[in-house]
Amino acid sequence: MSEVHLDEKVESGGLIAHLRPHLKGYGIIWITLALFLLLTVTTGPFFSEANLRNILDQQATLLIAASLATVAMIAGGFDLSISAVFVAAPLLALQVENATQSVLLAVVVGVLAGLFVGCLNGVVVAVLKVNSFIGTLATSFMVFGAGYLISDRRILQPETETFRKIARTRWFSLTTATWIALGVVLATWFLLSRTRFGRHVYATGGNPEAARLAGVRVTGVTIAVFALTGAAAGLAGVVSASRSLSAMPSDDFSFLFGVISAVVVGGTSIAGGEGGVWRTVFGAFFIAFMINGFNLHQVDPIWQRVIQGAVILVAVSIDAWARRRPAG
């Protein structure tokens, strides 16, 4: 029997046809780099160490949560409760810190609280078979509510210096928040691209029935990705509390919107089965550069929103176009 047949006939097509394979799947990289260059050229302060360091620091909490949200999305799950956990987990952590002065315990409790909510989401979606949009929307309300109960509707502040240092220590000129985010991104990348679990995540999102028939524990994978997303949102919340030296209850979904924008602009498919953490990293920085550029150019914040929405739409459309495959 013959070798796997390698076809080397490459023929010429139009310019667009030539461009497409290169753009295919990597559009977000080019768009982000283009924006980077544009801002470097048009604004002096953009390409300064302080500004770039600042952007990295500001993106840290988002990247922590968005990395794992990417994993959930690839597995075919959509987690709306990220915001609620992001708000409530640090409140619990700070209560623990205030009561015990133990930072380690506080962080562990904050992350475990996220993990717990994530497990609950996972069970709701995988076992009770509730659509993940609806299921995590419902748990969101519960967790937002819990945030008010935990904090007694107050703004909480850390009492120990150590807690303040979690995100704000500088190592090699970058903040620990940045390093934590880098660690989470790398770990997630490794998980997705190098491990069996990662394969099972892609398989589950790509075709759950086929995955099950191939012996993948589809239920287990789904619970695990929600649990991890919850834990990451909890960690992001704790880091954020340390950055801002406070935490307060709210029912604000805006953190979720940032996370979802980064994941989707990066090009991870909402339909599941496709995507990657590196995409989310580019998606996050694309949006961050854009906002930074607006501020440097002193664009009216109201207009910023309008333009931001439009630019995201364009970016996503270009990516979709570049990745469009012939039907069939």
């Binding site: 013959s2 023929e11 790509g206 012939p326 069939g328």
Partner: protein, 508 residues
């Protein structure tokens, strides 16, 4: 039977279509006459589906010109093709699973009063359509609750409802039983007599010779020749398709070792409404076929044995120890492997690379501490895909970009990485070309000879007769008889499957 209408319906000149580095069709010139049944045959990946899709507007050709009914056209969408009254029944089913049969049939061509869909009119038209074509499917059933064969019928009804003058049918009989297939062939003949042109893509050469007026043979994206069906024979077609002749269709059966251990024992398996009292055994080195009509419960039984669907009673044992039912994972751990009936729904992650699809159930072999060792994976997949003669530009291509037959081979390769003790193969040669079919037969026979137990479900009676050591015939959810595979005749199997004499059965 040459047709009377003489004008040319379709004229293709220098049509080419390229996917990445693969030239799927290459400077194709072809004339299709109005009202003829024009068969398109060739190996897996020869470009048949691609050519069909170009005709039906699914793919826009890179080069060349296309004239339909005297007009030069350039289709950019299936809709534009439909406006020129060209449509297609695709190889991979393309229905909306959550809609009903009738909704799918009239999707996109709804009749309406103002903005309101006229369901009554749909029902009337559906009724007429079913009467005319003889293809009956319950219109109110949701498509995802229909069997694969019924879904195929819905696809055909959909094409008929569009009142197309040219219908491309890509392997329409691959999912049908023998009698359903012969029904469809009759429908195709009727359509052709009524003036509709049919492009018929198939790997079943006897059906092609039976129904086609002219036959075009493709190879590597090019046309080898177009000829009158009357001047061809199975032998001449095969030779032109694969460039060599094939001797006997099936490898010789080695008599099974009577002292071999029993690999699979199923006792009293039943599920209310599907099947009951199923007892069966498969020994090492033995190929056991489940035969029967579509709907007789064959697929349901093997799915339950593999843990895909639940059962109400009964037990499954592998090598003497019980298997936890209801999870494929336990079945795989106990030494089973399965090639499911529908590769696209139940088998493959279409957007993932061939490599990942092939290695999925055996990832553990290439993992250390949860990490996948790419090199080992790559090598094993390469060996397995070579063994089944899978052709892909690269193992990193998404499976969806492979031709139908090569997708099926990916499913096979999956279980060659590490061989299971029992292989359940549900319609294993669906959509596979003659050469590859022969290769799969040899593979199955070889695997059995090496001691694998094989449980085969097939609607192709020759396949059952040619491969099986024992044939279990199912009817109405029960195993009604066991026939020795060495001496079995077609009539005997059909008789048991229909529960009547074979003569009546064939004359459906």
């Amino acid at each position: 039977m040459p047709t009377i209408a003489l004008d040319d319906h379709v004229l293709l000149k220098g049509i080419s279509k390229q996917f990445g580095s693969t030239r799927a069709i290459d400077s194709v010139n072809l004339t299709i006459r109005r009202g003829e049944v024009h068969a398109l045959i060739g190996e897996n990946g020869a470009g048949k589906s691609t050519l069909g899709k170009v005709l039906a507007g699914v793919h826009e050709p890179d080069e060349g010109s296309m004239t339909i009914a005297g007009k030069t056209v350039r289709f950019r969408s299936p809709r534009q093709a439909l406006d020129m009254r060209v449509t297609m029944v695709a190889q991979e089913l393309q229905l909306v699973p959550t809609l009903t049969a009738i909704e799918n049939v009239y999707l996109g061509i709804e009749s309406s009063r103002g903005p309101v869909v006229d369901d009554r009119d749909h029902r009337d038209r559906y009724q007429r359509l079913v009467q005319q074509s003889g293809i009956g499917v319950d219109p109110s059933r949701r498509v995802d609750s229909l069997s694969v064969a019924d879904q195929q019928k819905v696809e055909i009804l959909r094409a008929l409802a569009r009142e197309a003058e040219l219908i491309v049918m890509d392997e329409p009989t691959a999912r049908l039983t023998a009698d359903e297939a012969s029904n469809l062939l009759q429908i195709i003949r009727d359509l052709s007599v009524g003036g509709t042109t049919v492009v018929f893509v198939s790997h079943f050469l006897d059906q092609v010779l039976d129904v086609a007026d002219r036959i075009t043979i493709m190879r590597d994206g090019r046309i080898v020749r177009t000829s009158e069906a009357g001047s061809e024979s199975t032998g001449s077609l095969v030779e032109a398709m694969i460039g060599r002749t094939l001797e006997a269709n099936f490898p010789p059966k080695s008599p099974p070792d009577t002292t071999a251990e029993t690999v699979l024992t199923v006792k009293g398996l039943g599920r209310v409404g599907s099947f009951e009292d199923v007892d069966l055994q498969v020994n090492a080195g033995e190929i056991v076929a489940l035969a029967g009509l579509v709907g007789s419960g064959r697929t349901e039984v093997v799915r339950s044995v593999f843990g895909v669907d639940p059962v109400d009673c009964g037990s499954v044992e592998m090598l003497g120890s019980g298997v936890g039912l209801g999870t494929p994972r336990a079945a795989i751990a106990s030494g089973m492997g399965m090639i499911p009936e529908s590769r696209s729904d139940q088998g493959l992650m279409l957007r993932r690379p061939v490599r990942e699809n092939a290695s999925l159930p055996r990832l553990g072999l290439f993992s250390r501490l949860g990490m996948v060792l790419r090199r080992g994976e790559q090598e094993s997949v390469q060996v397995a895909t070579t063994e089944v003669d899978l052709r892909a530009a690269s193992l990193e291509m998404p499976v969806e970009s492979l031709s139908g037959g090569n997708q099926q081979k990916t499913m096979f390769a999956r279980w060659l990485i590490e061989r299971p003790r029992l292989l359940i193969a549900d319609e294993p040669t669906r959509g596979v070309d003659v050469g590859a079919k022969r290769a799969i037969y040899e593979l199955l026979a070889g695997l059995a000879e090496d001691g694998m137990a094989v449980l085969l479900v097939s609607s192709e009676i020759e396949e059952v007769l040619g491969l099986a050591h024992r044939i279990l015939v199912m009817r109405g959810g029960r195993i009604v008889c066991e026939i020795d595979g060495i001496e079995a005749s077609e009539a005997e199997v059909l008789e048991a499957a229909f529960g009547t004499s074979a003569e009546e059965a064939v004359g459906v």
